[in-house]
């Protein structure tokens, strides 16, 4: 007989998995430890991608909510180095620019702020006074934490609304308390939430324009103008804003877009993400070396099993496939655990930060693909070694 009828049978996929899992079931501790290496790598990468995506999507949501169409024009210095002041009509002039939908302003007020009149003059609280127009809060998208914002009556009275940091520094937790602005006792009627687009205001005590003029010798000239225009015309407005407010010295006006700072934050996160991904990749590589090591030892220890399988009729292919499957299962186990761990870490941290957790499916798919690749690469050499063992040598191994 020529042997043409001796075609080796193929194992069914189920049998391939069963046989591949034999070695794993027998050595659980080692399996857990070497899968752990892969798990740490994958978890790091999934978590890094998840957190950076979550943070970015949170930032994007905030930008969406706050709008990117706000420009500020702050009074700088003229060419002689003197601080310039905007004309009283600055807001009205800005509102006359075509695409501008709304404009408002604040102004620096030269008033020393103290917690009370028994605090010595020299000890200020690091809080400055600002005159604010009534529509400032709605223009910036700010929120009142306690009390109320300035109203048409309060605008003329010695009352103030504190930024969040200012309230903290002055030790004021509820409205109705008073602080000293110069020698005038001022009632706190409101405390604001942090203003994300313009955090400078968090450290100020705001009073109405008329009140500032009446009580603090304020000349009524704004130092910062805020405007919102249509989204499409932000750049056009930016080009003419300085000339509009200060035709004589447009260079003394510094125009900026507060949302740019938030957008820049999203961009800087990317660099950090790349670095962390690199670290994750290194962890994954080390995990892969661990799997390869485990597989080499497994083959050495199981030479007699290999010999037995050969005597039972396993082809070289079947042996190779067995150890390759084992390696794939091992790294797949680690990869799955890592992906779950990474996703869980993302959800936990995002929850802690008050973000909406985003775990991009591509990061899970990528992690799994990396895992399988590692499984093949780490398992190939040991599997080939196992398949090349001579059956009689393998059977008599000690």
């Amino acid at each position: 007989m020529s042997g043409n009828d001796l075609k080796p049978s193929r194992l069914s996929p189920r049998d391939i998995l069963r046989v591949g899992a034999v070695g794993l079931r027998a050595r659980r501790a080692r399996v857990v430890l070497s899968a752990l290496g892969i798990a740490i790598g994958i978890a790091t990468m999934v978590a890094v991608v998840g957190l950076s995506e979550s943070s970015r999507s949170d930032l994007m949501a905030r930008l969406d909510r706050l709008g990117t169409n706000l420009l500020t024009a702050e009074a700088g210095e003229d060419h002689l180095g003197n601080r310039i002041k905007f004309p009283k009509s600055a807001v009205a002039m800005v509102e006359r620019i075509g695409p501008v939908e709304h404009a408002t302003a604040t102004a620096n007020v030269d008033a020393r702020i103290r917690r009370s009149d028994v605090v010595p003059d020299e000890r200020t609280a690091g809080v400055t006074a600002q005159a604010a127009r009534l529509d400032l809060l709605s223009t910036l998208g700010g929120e009142v934490a306690k009390g109320v914002w300035l109203d048409p009556a309060g605008e003329r009275l010695p009352v103030t609304v504190l930024g969040s940091v200012a309230a903290d520094r002055l030790g004021i937790t509820r409205t109705g308390e008073t602080i000293m602005m110069d020698e005038t006792r001022v009632v706190v009627v409101g405390i604001l939430e942090p203003i994300e687009l313009f955090p400078t205001l968090d450290r100020t005590a705001m009073v109405g324009f008329p009140a500032a003029e009446r009580y603090f010798r304020f000349d009524g000239r704004p130092t910062t103008v805020f405007e919102r225009s249509t989204d499409a015309s932000v750049e056009e407005v930016r080009a003419v804003l300085g000339r509009t407010i200060s035709p004589g010295d447009p260079a003394g006006v510094s125009v900026s877009r507060p949302s740019d700072a938030l957008a820049a934050k999203a961009a800087t996160d990317k660099g950090l993400t790349a670095l962390m991904l690199g670290l994750g990749a290194v962890a994954l590589l080390v995990g892969g070396v661990g799997v390869a090591n485990t597989m080499v030892i497994s083959v050495l220890e199981r030479r007699r099993e290999i010999g037995l399988r050969r005597s039972l009729g396993a082809t070289r292919n079947a042996i190779r496939l067995q150890f390759l499957t084992e390696s794939l299962l091992l790294s797949g186990l680690g990869g799955t655990a890592g992906a779950l761990l990474g996703a869980a870490a993302t959800y936990a941290f995002a929850h802690f930060q008050g973000w909406t957790a985003v775990v991009p499916p591509w990061s899970l798919a990528g992690g799994l693909a990396a895992t399988l690749l590692i499984g093949v690469v780490a398992g190939l050499y040991p599997a080939i070694r196992a398949s090349r063992l001579h059956p009689t040598v393998a059977l008599n191994a000690t």
């Binding site: 042997g3 049978s9 069914s12 049998d15 079931r25 005597s311 070289r316 009689t392």
Partner: protein, 242 residues
């Protein structure tokens, strides 16, 4: 003492013609061996250690190829077959029983026996069913769910015999099957081999133990890689072996 094979010889299960096996360095494990094993025989290959009987087992079991000469197992010329076809030949026609049992720890007797059919393309359910039948044949039907470390030495070897048997091989090769067993368990295993032979299985026992060899109908004695005698007992057992 040397007698010819029985006159009504059936097609040979194993046929060695001038088979020699040498290793680099001038070690000659087999020197021109001629041997024919007919269907239904029960024979011992006996000799001191280093006599070449283990090489003989490997060559008969197609785990090793002879350097020169021809080996035919179940009608196939071993030297003409590729490694994967040899594997298929072992999967379908040859069963092995080893001195150290080679059972998988942590897997029960049924699973261990079922592995005997793994590479013959038999589906899992059928493998298990046939494994239970094979366990019943070796008298261990009540031990099916026990793992090797819950079995005595003799029971382990009977599980190993069931694994070799489950594929209904043309040839069962037993390498020192009683070597790791006490006398009583050894006797039970030998009795089992006799029973299996009586029901038609061709069995070749490799042993260094003359007592065991003498209990078998045919004895092939080895020394320094050569057959020094090939004898048949004139006993009632021979009739059972055809």
């Amino acid at each position: 003492m040397t007698l010819p094979p029985p006159a009504d010889s059936s097609p040979p299960v194993v046929e060695l013609r001038d088979a020699a096996k040498s290793y680099p360095g001038g070690v000659h494990a087999l020197r021109g061996v001629n041997l024919t094993v007919a269907e239904g025989e029960l024979l011992a290959v006996v000799g001191p250690s280093g006599s070449g009987k283990s090489t003989m087992l490997n060559v008969m079991g197609t785990l090793d190829k002879p350097t020169t000469g021809t080996v035919k197992v179940a009608g196939y010329d071993v030297s003409a077959l590729s490694d994967s076809r040899l594997s298929a030949l072992r999967a379908r026609h040859i069963g092995f029983v080893f001195q150290q049992f080679h059972l998988a720890a942590g897997r029960d007797a049924v699973d261990n026996v079922a592995d005997g059919l793994l590479y013959a393309g038999v589906p899992l359910r059928e493998r298990r069913a046939r494994a239970r039948e094979a366990l019943a044949k070796v008298g261990l039907d009540h031990r099916g769910s026990h793992t090797p470390n819950e079995l005595s030495g003799g029971e382990k070897q009977r599980v190993a015999i069931a694994r070799a048997l489950v594929g209904e091989p043309r040839l069962l090769l037993a390498d020192e099957p009683t070597g790791a067993l006490d006398t009583a368990s050894g006797a039970i295993v030998m009795e089992l081999l006799h029973e299996l032979n009586a029901s038609g299985t061709t069995i070749c026992v490799i042993t260094h133990d003359n007592g065991i060899a003498d209990s078998l109908p045919r004895r092939v004695r080895f020394k320094d890689g050569e057959i020094v005698s090939d004898s048949y007992s004139v006993s009632p057992v021979e009739g059972a072996g055809r």
